[in-house]
Symmetry: C2
Subunit: 245 residues, 2 copies
């Protein structure tokens, strides 16, 4: 990540934190406005000190990027340049492929006020532009670094899109579920809730469907059976109910 | 987006800016520590004032979420709960599907220091957890809102992953390219660069391959032909060269 003439130390710190959130530690800064090191950057980095300590400071983009093969330029505005424009997601995939081939890859971020100059963008192989609300597309510098870094991490992540941790109990099997349904039905008959014989099958179907959707664990089935049993035969005397309640 | 007991006004402002970047304007805040309105929030919002002006303030999460059908809770930590855990990307797809069906969807974000309490997480239908560097996974509040909002916008975006704007000139056709190659080859023969007859075909193939990869526009082909012509016959007298240069 190469920050070109960043103005605010806070934003350098936010960028460092976002980088470390996403496993990136090679920060380069070209002509930071307020000099270096910058105590405001350290405060905003919230523990990502290692990124700031290893940051390299340069006088020119050409020096900061000399050893890189592939250079991307980030921009919020459309530029009149015949150059590939990638979403952050596509750029992250592209960058991962290049790094796997041994290329060194860098990403330029411009100053807060107006972003990269066209001359700087023209030095890059490709432009990264995030699809955002066209009426309010300008990102804070730290936020821009986060989006690019976040997509980098996602492109290499093997975390499943969705999973349900089971805790200590496995998901209930069919026998346990049917046991709960039978227990509940017997008590609902006994207490009069299912007194309408004709509607009883459809009411029970609805109850089964609702409980099926919850994908209960074996422990939760035992908990629900305990609830039913205790509602039927309280372990403690119920407090007297006020007629007004 | 529902911020629960946010501590810093700046983070509320960053969250508002990130929301508007991603086309979201319904911000709800439960018990902001420093009261409301908050001038630091306005400064950090950098123009997303409309989000702050329309923000609703609540005393309790139950009030802030009363009208919602689907509630997600964001967390950086693993919780011991049998509840679906979605990546921000999967959650955004899920939320888009629900909104398309007419459901109202909310996302809870906890306070900066420690995130949502387990009791708050247990109120939600699903957990959102971003895959991040496990050694440094805690996001700034504004950054967390950005990632979720960014994925929401991406899930509805039709922007192509990659495209190359052509400017005013279309991509060169084969005749224009072959014209450039022939022009260049003729001049390279004339100046002696291609004096080795045997190697000439392979040298020209390499040059053609390099120029093909650039996917030149018609205008760029004309520019390159002009460059060749001018190098051969300068319009102005060349300055005398120093031997040392």
């Amino acid at each position: 990540m190469i920050l070109v003439e960043p103005q605010l130390g806070e934003n350098i710190g936010f960028a460092a934190r976002a980088m470390l959130n996403c496993g990136l530690t090679d920060l380069r800064i070209v002509r930071p406005r307020d000099g270096w090191p910058n105590p405001k950057a350290k405060a905003a980095a919230s523990g990502a000190d290692t990124v700031l300590e290893r940051a390299m400071i340069f006088d020119a983009i050409s020096d900061a990027t000399a050893g890189l093969q592939q250079l991307y330029a980030t921009t919020a505005r459309r530029r009149e340049m015949v150059k590939p424009v990638l979403t952050p997601r596509r750029a992250a995939e592209d960058a991962r492929e290049r790094v796997a081939k041994g290329e060194r890859v860098g990403i330029l971020f411009g100053p807060e006020r107006a972003g990269l100059e066209n001359d700087h963008v023209s030095l890059a192989d490709a432009v990264i532009q995030a699809p955002l609300n066209p009426a309010f597309a300008s990102l804070n510098l730290g936020q821009a670094v986060l989006i690019v870094a976040y997509e980098w991490w996602q492109a290499g992540s093997t975390v499943p899109a969705s999973h349900t941790p089971l805790g200590k109990s496995p998901r209930a099997n069919r026998a346990q579920l049917l046991g709960l349904f039978a227990h509940l039905e017997a008590e609902l008959v006994a207490c009069g809730f299912l007194r309408n014989e004709e509607k009883r099958p459809s009411v029970m179907r609805n109850i089964r469907n609702a409980l099926e959707r919850a994908e209960l664990t074996a422990q939760e089935v035992r908990t629900f059976r305990g609830i039913v049993a205790n509602l039927v035969e309280p372990k403690f005397k119920r407090p007297a109910r006020s007629r007004k309640a």
